[in-house]
Symmetry: C3
Subunit: 131 residues, 3 copies
C-alpha cells in the first residue's frame, strides 16, 4: 500500500486538538465546581463544554473526508486540509471560550477545508465511476 504520512500526521494533530478540548473540560469542571455528571448550570463551564462537543462533531465530519481525499484526490491536499482544520479549531476554541459570538472565524476555518475535501472527493469518485 502507498503510505500516507501527511494524512496520518494531520490525523494525529486533529486528535491532539480534540484531546486538548477534553482536557479543557476537565480543568473547567474543577475551576467552576461542576462535578460530573452535570454539564449545565455554570455559563463559563458550558462554553468550554460546547467547544469540546462541537469539536467532536467537526472531527467526525472531517476525518472521513480527509481519508477519502488521501486515497482519491491526493495525499498532500489531505494533509494540508487537516492542518488548516486544526488551526481553525484552536482559533475556534480560544475565541468561543472568551465570547460565543466571536466564534465565526474559527468555525469558518474549520468547516471550509472539510467541505472542500468532501467536494473534491465527490468529483474524483464520480469521474472514476463515469469513465
Amino acid at each position: 500500500m502507498v503510505p500516507h504520512p501527511y494524512s496520518a500526521l494531520a490525523t494525529l494533530l486533529a486528535l491532539a486538538v480534540f484531546f486538548w478540548t477534553t482536557a479543557l473540560v476537565s480543568r473547567a469542571r474543577t475551576r467552576y465546581g461542576v462535578a460530573a455528571p452535570a454539564c449545565t448550570g455554570n455559563a463559563d463551564f458550558e462554553r468550554v463544554f460546547r467547544v469540546q462537543m462541537n469539536t467532536l462533531e467537526q472531527l467526525v465530519l472531517m476525518l472521513p473526508a480527509l481519508w477519502l481525499c488521501a486515497v482519491w484526490v491526493g495525499e498532500l491536499y489531505a494533509g494540508l486540509g487537516g492542518l488548516v482544520w486544526s488551526i481553525g479549531r484552536v482559533l475556534y476554541a480560544v475565541t468561543y471560550i472568551k465570547n460565543p459570538k466571536s466564534r465565526t472565524a474559527g468555525y469558518t476555518l474549520t468547516i471550509t477545508p472539510t467541505l472542500v475535501m468532501a467536494l473534491a472527493d465527490a468529483v474524483f469518485i464520480l469521474k472514476f465511476m463515469l469513465g
Copy 2:
C-alpha cells in the same frame, strides 16, 4: 489498492446527512432564540439538537462497520448499507422533530444496516482467521 467507489460515495452521503442535521441546529438556534452555549430550555430546540446528537452517535457506529464491510465482505454491500442508513436517518430526523415518539421507524432503518454490516464483518473476519 482496489478502489471502493460505492463505499466512498455512501460515506460522503452519510456525512452530508449529518452536516444537514448540524445546519438544522443552527437554524433552530435562531428560530427559537436559544443562543450558544445553551442547549436546553426550549423543547422545540431540544428535539432538533437531539436529532443531531443521535445522528452523530449513529454515524460513529456505522462508518467503521461500513468500511470493514467494504474490505472484508463486499464493496457493493457496504455502499448499499450506507445508502439505507442515510435514508433511515433523514426519516428519523423528519419524524423526531415533529414528535419524538414517532422516531422508531427511522431509528430501525438506521440501526439495522449497521448491525447487519457489523455482523457480516465479524463472520467474514472469523472465517478468515479460522481457515
Copy 3:
C-alpha cells in the same frame, strides 16, 4: 492489501461496547422516566447518559489511533490496544454509573492505550519521513 484481522475484531468489539452504552441509555430513559428529548433532570439518568457521551468521545479518539497503529506500527499491537480500551470502557461504565468519583481507573485504562498508540504512530511516521 494485507488484511488486519485483529485490528478489525478490536474495532467491532469497541463498537459493541459503545452500542451497549447506547442501550443502557434507552433502558435508563424507561426506568427513570426521562422521555426524549430531555437529557437532564434525573441524576441517575444523567450518569448513564454521560457514560455514553464519554464513550463516544473516547471512541472517536481511539479508532483513528488504532488504524494508524495497524498500518504503521503493527497489526497485533493495534488489536491489543483496542482490546485494553474495550475492557477499560466496560470498567468505566460500571463504576461511573455507581459513583462518578470512582471512574478514574476505567478512564485511565481507556486513555492509556489510545495515547500509547498515538505516540507510537507519530514516532513511526516521523521515522519514515525523516529517512
